[in-house]
Every structure is written in C-alpha cells, then in structure tokens.
C-alpha cells in the first residue's frame, strides 16, 4: 500500500511537468489548430537556459530566491523564443494547408534539436541543485522537497493561467480566437497579437517545466524535448486538445500511468505506454476526456 502511494506521489510530480508542457500544446492548438511539434524543444531550451543561469548563480547557497530567479529567466527567454518561432516560421504559412503547417512545425522542431546539439553540445549536462534539499515522511511515503516544489509550482502556474484566461481581457480575447478566429477578427480583436501572446505563454510554461525537470531529474540533453514533448502531447489529447483543465488532467494521468508501468511491469515499456494510451483514446474517445465533439462542416 505504501509502495502504491509512493508511486502515485512520484507519478504526480512527473505528471505535473507533463501537464505544464501539455498546456502549451493545448493553447496553441486552441487558437491555431496546429500541433506545435517544436513545443517539446522549447521546453528543452528552457531547461538549458535554466542550467546556464544557475551556473551563473553558482557559488551561492542553494536558496528558493535563486531558484525563483532562474525560473523567471528561463520563462522570459523561452517566451521570446516562442514569439520568434511564431513570427518567422508559423505566421508565413498560417493560411496554407494543415499539412504545410505540420511539416513546418516538424522542421522547426528538428532545427531546435540540432541547433541545440550545436550550441549546447551533444553530451548531457547535469543541473546543479537550486533549492535546499530535505525529505518529508508522511505515512511511510517519502516526499522530497523537489517533488513538493515541482507539484506546488506547477499548480500555482496552472491556477495563474486559469485566472489569466478566465478573468483578463487578453484571456477573453484568447478564448474568442480559439472559438472562431475569423469572427474574433471581425469583432476587432488583434488576432495576430493574441496568437503571439498564446505562443509566449505556452513557451514560458514549457520553460518552467524544463527548469522543474532539471530540479527533479538533473540530467538534461538537447534531444530530451522529443520524448517529453510527445508524452505531453498525448496528455493534451487524452484530456481533450484545446481544453485547459483537460491538459492538466491528461498530464497527471500520463505521469501516474508511466510510473506504474515502470514500477510494476518493465522500464523498457516506459515510452510505449503513452502511445498505447494515445491510440486507445483516439479510437474510443477521440475528443478526449473533457473535450467536446466538433461537428465537421463542409
């Protein structure tokens, strides 16, 4: 029983990172109907920016303040990166067919992966510890301070995002664009601006995920974005793509099921489980757990 609880805790902390990345997929899909393949790689860049920033801060005692600075820096850098990607790669092909958009996204993703290998070096790097480390023991379950930070920060960010989308003017405009881009444009919403904001926000969340994963699993490498990105995408589809609470739910479910498979079956199936879930979801409930069925109009 304690093992099971321990696995659930581990799964939650992994899943909350998937959820953070999945939010970016879901938001971009919501406004552009585009699977932003490069999103996982933005997350990788976020982890690296965090790595270099924390190296700059090295020598100081690990503290929550420096962790906070590192995370904000990485989020700002990736928000800019998201804006640049949107402006240079996606905006020129926005009116083209979905296939063109998809191939462009794959191209951007490959560019970031290979550019990352060039700039950061192909070898894995080890993330320095940012925050003080201590363990809690609750009913036989071990909770590390990293896990608590990861879960806490992710949920804080998700709550802030929820507030932003539901309560601010920009958030309202974002929902309008996601509902119907052309109608939103007719209502005087600057759709280009909203799409840019969406990319910036999604990328910043991915960067936060990157720094958080660096705290929890300190090994980072330029290709780490592929598999995390794919799993987060699966999480977004599982929850219902385009649906913000769905992405969070999907992320947590994927995280927990992955930890369960590794714990009780075999670690070689670690990456297959997410795809297995994806295939089942698409066959049984393509709109996802919380998604709505969209009618096809001719």
């Amino acid at each position: 029983m304690t093992t099971l609880l321990q696995q659930i805790v581990n799964g939650l902390s992994l899943g909350s990172i998937y959820a953070l990345i999945a939010l970016g997929y879901t938001m971009v899909y919501g406004v552009l109907r585009l699977i932003n393949f490069a999103h996982g790689d933005v997350y990788m860049v976020g982890a690296y920016v965090g790595y270099y920033l924390s190296r700059k801060l090295a020598g100081r005692e690990p503290s929550f303040v420096s962790a906070f600075v590192v995370m904000l820096g990485a989020m700002a850098a990736c928000a800019v990166l998201g804006l640049v990607i949107e402006r240079l790669a996606y905006r020129p092909v926005r009116r083209a067919s979905r296939l063109t958009l998809l191939i462009t996204a794959i191209g951007v993703s490959l560019f970031l992966e290979n550019g990352g290998q060039l700039v950061f070096g192909p070898d894995p790097k080890f993330f320095p510890s940012l925050a003080p480390h201590f363990d809690f023991h609750v009913a036989g379950v071990r909770l590390t301070s990293e896990q608590i930070t990861v879960i806490g920060v992710s949920f804080l960010l998700m709550v802030l995002l929820r507030f932003f989308i539901m309560k601010t003017r920009t958030g309202k405009a974002m929902r309008a664009v996601s509902f119907n881009l052309d109608a939103a444009k007719l209502m005087g919403i600057s759709t280009d601006g909203i799409i840019a904001v969406t990319f910036a926000l999604g990328s910043a969340l991915a960067a936060a995920g990157g720094v958080l994963i660096g705290m929890q699993i300190p090994k980072i490498d330029p290709l780490m974005g592929i598999i995390y990105g794919l799993k987060a995408f699966v999480a977004a589809v599982l929850g219902g793509i385009g649906n913000v609470p769905g992405a969070v739910l999907g992320g947590l479910l994927i995280g927990i099921s992955e930890v369960m498979v590794v714990g009780y079956l075999s670690s070689t199936y670690r990456d297959a489980i997410a795809f297995g879930i994806l295939i089942l979801v698409l066959l049984l409930r393509p709109q996802g757990i919380l998604g709505r069925v969209q009618k096809e109009k001719v």
Binding site: S97, R98, I106, A272, I279, L282, V298
Partner: protein, 335 residues
C-alpha cells in the same frame, strides 16, 4: 510486349552495371566501396520515399511511422534468412550460388513484405479513420511501439542488435526493387483506383459523396505502402548485414518525409529526386556533420514557406520536358 522488353532491358542494364561496379569486369573499373554503398543506400531510400509518397503524397494521409514498417520487413526477412536460409540453399543446391542467394533473398523479402503488409493493415484500419494531425501522431505512436516491441524480442537480438545476416542484397537487387516500386506506384496512380486515391487527397468528403469507399481505399494504399517499406527494410538488413532498432526511430521516418517533401508530395520522380538529393547532401556534407541537420531543418521550413508543394509539386520530370501538365494542379485542400 513493349513493357516486357523494357523490363528485360532494365534487368540487363542493372545486371551489367552491378558487374561493372563490383569489379567483375576488371578491378580497374570497379567503383570505390564507399561510393557503391552510398548508391545502394540511395536505392533503398528511393524505395522508401516512393512508397511513402503513395500514402502521403497521392492519398493525402500524412503518416510519420514509415520506419516502423521498414523495421518489421528488415527484421522478418533477416530472421528468415538466418534461420531458414541454409535449408533453401540445400534444396536448391543444383543452382549456381548467386542464384541460390537470390532465391533466399526473394523468399525472405516476400516474408518481410507480407508481415509489414499485415502490420500495415492492423495499424491502418483503426488509424485511417482519423485525419490530419491525429493520423500523423497515431502513426508516429505505432512506429515507436513497433520499435519498442522489436527491442524486446530476444530472438532477433533485442538491444544487442541483429548481426550475422549474409550480404546477399547487392546493387542489382536494390535497384531492381527500386524500379519495381516505381512501376507499382506509377501503375496504381494511373489506374482508376489511383484516381480514387487522388480524389481522397483533394477532398475526402467530396470523394465519399461521389461513392468512393474512402476507408477501404486508404487502407489498401496504406497496406501496399507498408509492404514496400518492408521490402526496403529487408534489403537494408541484407545489405548492411546488421540491424539495430536505433536505425528505425522516429527520425528515420522524418528523413523519408524530408525526401518526399523536398521532391514534391504526389510526384514519383520527385521522390526519386528527393531521395537522391537527400543522400547526396548528407554524404557530401559529412565533414560538416553537426551542421547538416540544422541545414536540412531550415531547408524544410523555407521550402514550406516559399514552395510548399516541393521542387516538382504534383508534376513529374517528364511533364516539364514535354511542356504538358500531367494532372491539373489543384491547390491542396486543408486536411
């Protein structure tokens, strides 16, 4: 009759070229082993690109799991050759050794293609109901699942890789199958069935309204494409004599997509041009290995922005020479 003569001519030319390149007509005329290997790998990539173009370019169903079917074909045929090759050799002991090797290769490739086709059927039936991005992701998922499963089968070496495959695929066999795959796709595309595929690509709903059984057509196209990818994989294994699941990752599928996107989705000659161009560039830029994938990815984005239909678009090389369009080019509808 004309077709038959042409086929005989192609086989004769390939046979002679094979003899020439491998030095059977005098060592001085032989090609350097490195260049020959590059040419042979280009041939395998032609098979893969042409087959992927059938499903991605002509049917308009964006699949990014082609490497999975290639892996099934590669591992099945290698397993056949390693475990049953001797038996076939002894049954056919009255034949010269080259012919015996050819027979073993053909039987193994057939087995590989068959299993890849069966896998294509079981992947295609559920996933081809989905469209666009979802189909892409599901095929990607299946491709990865196939790879992980092969990685866990001990009979084919698992994580150690599969070694000890005899080198019985040569320039001759590779280009024979490359020519065959071009002919197969050409004949399919120019048949009435091919027109249903193109109708599905242009507008699936309209095609369905016209009475096309879209799911059936898409599945057939997918199965044929998978079988051809399996053949390509089989040749790959019998040429390099070693297989590892790392050769069949998601990146391999992306490579094949880059080839057909460069050449033109929906152009057979385009796939050939794309495959040859891709291989030449990767080999030519070997000195700049760390920059070349950066270059390819930039190229992919730039092609999408300035010329989304690829170099040739839906057209074939011949249509440029005769200044006549083969098919009216319709801007592809959103998926």
């Amino acid at each position: 009759m004309k077709g038959f003569l042409l086929a005989v001519a192609v086989v004769a030319v390939l046979f002679a070229a094979n003899a020439l390149f491998t030095g059977a007509l005098g060592a001085g005329l032989a090609m350097s082993p490195y260049l020959l290997q590059v040419i042979c790998l280009a041939g395998i990539n032609i098979i893969l690109a042409v087959s992927l173009n059938l499903i991605n370019g002509f049917t308009g169903q964006f699949s990014i799991g082609h490497a999975g079917f290639m892996a099934i074909g590669a591992y099945t045929s290698a397993y056949m050759t390693v475990n049953f090759g001797d038996r076939v050799q002894s049954v056919l002991s009255f034949l010269p050794s080259a012919a015996r090797d050819g027979a073993v290769l053909l039987i193994s490739l057939a087995a590989g293609a068959l299993l890849a086709a069966i896998a294509g059927f079981f992947v295609g039936v559920p996933s081809l109901r989905l469209r666009g991005d979802y189909l892409a992701i599901v095929t990607l998922g299946f491709g990865e699942i196939i790879r992980v499963f092969i990685l866990n089968i001990d009979a084919v070496g698992g994580a150690r890789g599969f070694s000890g495959i005899p080198k019985i695929a040569s320039f001759f066999w590779i280009y024979l199958f490359a020519a065959l795959s071009i002919v197969v796709v050409y004949r399919i595309v120019h048949s009435s069935f091919g027109r249903t595929l193109i109708a599905i690509r242009e507008d699936e709903i309209a095609a369905e309204a016209m009475g096309v059984d879209t799911t059936r057509s898409k599945v057939i196209s997918f199965v044929v494409s998978s079988a051809m990818a399996g053949t390509g994989g089989g040749l790959f294994g019998h040429y390099l004599m070693y297989l590892h699941t790392n050769s069949f990752t998601f990146l391999k599928s992306i490579e094949i997509i880059i080839m057909i996107v460069i050449g033109g989705l929906g152009s057979i000659t385009g796939s050939v041009v794309g495959a040859v161009l891709y291989i030449s560039l990767t080999e030519g830029l070997r000195e700049f290995a760390q920059y070349r994938m950066v270059l390819f990815s930039l190229m992919l984005v730039i092609i999408m922005i300035v010329r989304p239909q690829g170099i040739l678009g839906h057209r074939e090389v011949a249509s440029f020479l005769t200044r006549r369009r083969r098919l009216p080019t319709v801007p592809s509808a959103p998926l």
